[in-house]
C-alpha cells in the first residue's frame, strides 16, 4: 500500500505527452497544478478549479477529464495528454479549423475546448451538431464564441472524413 503523508512531497511518475516525467508534489496538489507548475506545461488553463468550466481539460489514459479534480498523486503510472501533446510541433487540423472559423477570441478557454473536441472526434468521428454541443457543454467560454467553435469541430470532422 502506498501512503503519502500530509506535508511530505510525494514522487509521482507519469507519462506526459509520451514522455515519462517525475514530479514531487504534496498529496493535495492537483494534476492541473502538477502539469503547469512542475512539468512546466502552461497550455492547460486554471480557472474555476472545481469542475465547472473545462479550462483544465486533459486526456487521462485517453479520456477527457478535468485536471483540477484529479490529485497529481492519483496520476502515478498513468498517461496524460495535454493540449501541447495533441500535435508534434505545428497546429493540428482541429486547431487550424478553430482559427479558420474565427473561434478563438481571448483564447483562455480554447485549450480545454480543443482537448474536449479532440476527445469527441476520437470517440465519435462523425458527430451531429447536438452531439458536438453536448460534448463541449462542460467547456465554458466567457467570450461566448460557441457557434464558431461548433463550426470548427464540424469542419475538422468533415476534413478527417475526407469530405
Amino acid at each position: 500500500m502506498t501512503t503519502v503523508p500530509t506535508e511530505d512531497l510525494q514522487t509521482v511518475t507519469l507519462t506526459v505527452n509520451g514522455s515519462e516525467r517525475t514530479v514531487a508534489v504534496p498529496p493535495h496538489r492537483t494534476l492541473l497544478d502538477g502539469l503547469r507548475d512542475e512539468v512546466g506545461l502552461p497550455g492547460t488553463k486554471s480557472c474555476c478549479a472545481e469542475g465547472e468550466c473545462g479550462a483544465c481539460t486533459v486526456l487521462l489514459d485517453g479520456k477527457a477529464v478535468n485536471s483540477c479534480l484529479v490529485l497529481c498523486v492519483e496520476a502515478e503510472g498513468h498517461e496524460v495528454t495535454t493540449v501541447e501533446g495533441l500535435s508534434d510541433g505545428g497546429l493540428t487540423d482541429l486547431q487550424e479549423e478553430f482559427l479558420n472559423a474565427g473561434a478563438v477570441q481571448c483564447g483562455f478557454c480554447i485549450p480545454g475546448q480543443v482537448v474536449s473536441a479532440e476527445y469527441l472526434l476520437r470517440t465519435n468521428p462523425s458527430p451531429s451538431e447536438p452531439e458536438i454541443r453536448e460534448a463541449l457543454s462542460g467547456n465554458l467560454c466567457r467570450c461566448a464564441g460557441y457557434q464558431r467553435i461548433v463550426r470548427a469541430v464540424q469542419a475538422t470532422a468533415a476534413r478527417r472524413n475526407g469530405q
Partner: protein
C-alpha cells in the same frame, strides 16, 4: 490537508478506513470530494483511493436477473453500456444530466449515492429500479436496499470504516417502462431543482423516485392505475407525491417545487408508460 493512501487490496482499503474512522474517506472520481476539500465542507485526514484495489467486485457484471455494479464504475461507462441503455432508460437519462462528459468520465455511479445529496440525479432511478447495496467493513459484508441506505442529507448507512463495494439492480419486469425528468435553472452544470423517475409496469402500477423535494431521495408506489383516465392518474399522483416536503432555497421556493414536481411526475409516468413493451414481446 489529508494524507493519501493507495491500497492494493480490499483488506488494506478496509484497514485504512477502519484506522482513519470518521476522518477517513474513500476516493473514487473525486468530483464531489475535491470540490468539498476546496470549500472545506469535508475535512478528512485520510483519502483512501479505491481505483488501484485489485480484488473489489468487477466494474459491471450482467446476469439474467440483475446488473451488478462495482465501486469504480463511472457514469461515462454506464451511459454507454448497451444492457443498461436497454433495461434502465431512466437511469441513463439521469446519468446523462450529471455534469459534463469530463465529469462523467471520472464520477462513479456508487459515489453519487454515497455522497447522499438529496438532489443526486441517479438516486431516483436507482430507487425505482429496486437497487440494493453491499456495504463492506472489517467485520464483514451486509446488504441494504437503497431506500434503507439514504438516511438524510449527506448521511447514509455506510458509516466510518465502511465501504460500498457493490450495487445490484434487478432486471425490470417484462412489460415495464421507465423515464426520468428533471428541472434545472440552466441546462448543463447545475443541480436539480426537482427530479423524478417513474417506473410503470404492465398493469399500470407506478413506482416514483423523487429528488430535491425532501432531506433524502424519496420512493413511493401505487397499485395499478388506469393511465387513460386523467382523473384517476391525478388521484394516484396525490398519493404518490404526498411525502414530498421540499424546502425553499436558491433553486426554487417550496411552492414552486411542489407545483413542478406534479408536472414532472406526470410527464415521467406517461413517458415511462409509453416505453412499455408488450409482455409477449419483452421476453
Amino acid at each position: 490537508m489529508p494524507k493519501y493512501v493507495r491500497p492494493a487490496t480490499r483488506a488494506e482499503a478496509l484497514a485504512a478506513l477502519a484506522e482513519g474512522g470518521a476522518a477517513a474517506r474513500p476516493l473514487v472520481g473525486g468530483t464531489d470530494l475535491l470540490v468539498g476539500l476546496r470549500h472545506h465542507t469535508v475535512e478528512p485526514d485520510v483519502l483512501v483511493d479505491l481505483k488501484g484495489v485489485t480484488d473489489l467486485p468487477e466494474p459491471i457484471v450482467v446476469t439474467d436477473d440483475a446488473v451488478r455494479i462495482g465501486a469504480t464504475y463511472t457514469l461515462g461507462e454506464l451511459v454507454a453500456h448497451p444492457v443498461v441503455q436497454e433495461s434502465y432508460p431512466a437511469l441513463v437519462e439521469a446519468a446523462l444530466t450529471v455534469g459534463s462528459v469530463a465529469i462523467r468520465n471520472r464520477a462513479s455511479l456508487i459515489a453519487n449515492s454515497c455522497n447522499a445529496s438529496p438532489a443526486a440525479d441517479t438516486a431516483p432511478p436507482l430507487l425505482v429500479h429496486g437497487a440494493s447495496v453491499t456495504i463492506a467493513s472489517a467485520d464483514g459484508d451486509r446488504t441494504a436496499t437503497l431506500d434503507e441506505f439514504f438516511l438524510g442529507p449527506r448521511r447514509t448507512l455506510c458509516g466510518p470504516g465502511e465501504l460500498v463495494v457493490r450495487l445490484d439492480l434487478p432486471r425490470p419486469a417484462a412489460g415495464s417502462g421507465s423515464a426520468f425528468r428533471r428541472l434545472t435553472r440552466r441546462r448543463g452544470v447545475d443541480l436539480a431543482t426537482v427530479s423524478v423517475a417513474a417506473l410503470v409496469d404492465a398493469d399500470g402500477a407506478i413506482v416514483l423516485g423523487m429528488g430535491a423535494v425532501g432531506p433524502r431521495p424519496l420512493l413511493t408506489r401505487t397499485g395499478p392505475v388506469d393511465l387513460a383516465d386523467d382523473a384517476a392518474l391525478d388521484a394516484a399522483l396525490d398519493e404518490l407525491l404526498a411525502p414530498a416536503t421540499p424546502i425553499s432555497d436558491v433553486r426554487g421556493s417550496r411552492e414552486y417545487r411542489l407545483a413542478m414536481l406534479r408536472v414532472l411526475a406526470k410527464r415521467a409516468v406517461l413517458a415511462a408508460a409509453d416505453r412499455r413493451t408488450p409482455e409477449e414481446m419483452a421476453s
